[in-house]
């Protein structure tokens, strides 16, 4: 029973493999499986922080004894969906030393000369680390599809290449948690307007964001295809309702907690003579 509850949210938010995805059927204001309101969510999320940090320490400790496992959280979503806020609030729970965070921007000319996965491989978490991608290789099948930066056959190839890539990561000890932060069209308007209303938020605003917004339906469709084609057994996609920030932060924290608990990393046993070391310390040294 307790076990079932612990695995709960992953099952609730997971995109079913092999089925077409209709994002219109997902409520961005939903609070699936979550606390009853904002106040409760803030308390529960804060309380999860300590567990997350403990599990992260164990994951890191295990890596010092050869455990190759690590976690990679992939955050995708429309502008203002809260990718940056999630890193700040959720990843803020962890010891920053063990986190490898990468925000992917538009590829540089140099990056464009290589395969699209090349720059992603360089940023993967090492053994024992928590990797966090704010945007990822999925941009190469999202904006690339919407803006027609690649022909359809090339996009087709990319979905397959992504699946092979993620399968090989999973085989190499990477626990992939891919979250689509799902906001509604209206909520995006509210958030963009808020950025305009506050001079201390202007730096986050780019008039180009409005041009992208005009392509909303095309982006939703591009996400639907990517979720459909790349939701695999070992690299699942989760649709996280993200209109309510408190739910989003709770949900991503909870997904991380469930996965870290399932990994159950252990502190390694001492590979030296503890009693002898104690004696040396107490004597002279």
């Amino acid at each position: 029973m307790a076990r079932k509850q612990r695995r709960g949210l992953s099952e609730l938010l997971r995109v079913p493999g092999g089925e077409r995805v209709d994002l219109g059927g997902y409520d961005a204001r939903a609070t699936t499986g979550g606390p009853k309101d904002k106040k409760a969510a803030l308390a529960v999320t804060a309380a999860m922080g300590e567990h997350l940090a403990q599990l992260q320490e164990r994951l890191w400790a295990a890596s010092t004894a050869g455990d190759r496992r690590r976690v990679l959280l992939v955050l995708q979503g429309m502008d203002t969906s809260g990718k940056g806020g999630t890193v700040k609030h959720v990843i803020g729970h962890f010891n920053p030393s063990g986190c490898r965070i990468k925000a992917f921007k538009a590829p540089t000319p140099e990056e464009r000369r290589h395969d699209f996965l090349c720059r992603v491989r360089r940023e993967l978490p090492h053994a024992g680390e928590m990797g966090i991608f704010d945007r990822s290789h999925y941009e190469d099948v999202l904006i690339a599809r919407v803006r027609e930066l690649a022909p359809p056959a090339e996009l087709d190839r990319r979905y397959e290449e992504i699946n092979h890539f993620e399968e090989s990561l999973a085989a190499d000890g990477v626990t992939l948690i891919k979250c689509f932060l799902h906001i509604s069209y209206d909520e995006q308007r509210r958030r963009l307007l808020e950025r305009l209303d506050r001079p201390d938020k202007h730096w986050k605003f780019n008039p180009g964001d409005i041009d992208e917004r005009e392509l909303w339906p095309a982006y939703q469709e591009a996400y639907e295809v990517a979720l459909h084609r790349c939701a695999t057994e070992r690299a699942p996609w989760y649709v996280v309702p993200a209109d309510r920030k408190w739910y989003r932060n709770w949900a991503v924290s909870r997904l991380l907690l469930e996965h870290l608990r399932a990994l159950d990393p252990r502190y390694p046993k001492a590979d030296f003579d503890v009693a002898q070391c104690r004696e040396r310390l107490l004597k002279g040294a």
Copy 2:
């Protein structure tokens, strides 16, 4: 008056330039300029967290408009002095997205083939970032001196090279905050014994730590020379009493706060037509 108070701790802990350093004269249990006890320190440090995060956001925001400034916190100290704990507790205040943290280990054979500063240059913070070095290029004049990994003339050259390097960083907009976390010989014994007493800390223990401890006087002397030769106007050293963890965390937070306040980063002004963007959003898009 308020201004003077704000700059206070930097002045109190700063190693005076040009003078020989005698670490025997620095009390590792001191609470120089700090709160009166642990309870007060925890409260004050937590309260600083929000200010630090706000200043970090402003530094980052300013970088999006071309401000090249960034901060580099260098942490040095004997084993168990709390370099890792400082990253966890102090850097945990910040948005992890804007932090670039690097723990330097013994150089790899490949790294050894290059100048000792080469691997350091690769890990420098970018504009707007908070860089944190857990150990640094100073290892190349510390362990290198104690273990005689380099001849005296080469060490001499390195102090000079470090000063040139740090001067060039400062000229390029890097605010350097170099902290020597100063613990006592007895406190190190206590902390090593604690690691032995707790199976969940064994992974942090290495019998080699006891061998290093036997070289304590040589390390203290190596630090004294490094602090003496590399405490410059633009790249000062701070001796942070570190036997009390609550003071250490408070002090490093405070040093960061003072330096970030002095930088006084500003949110950039909008370089687009705010009213027009608002209209576009409210109309159709």
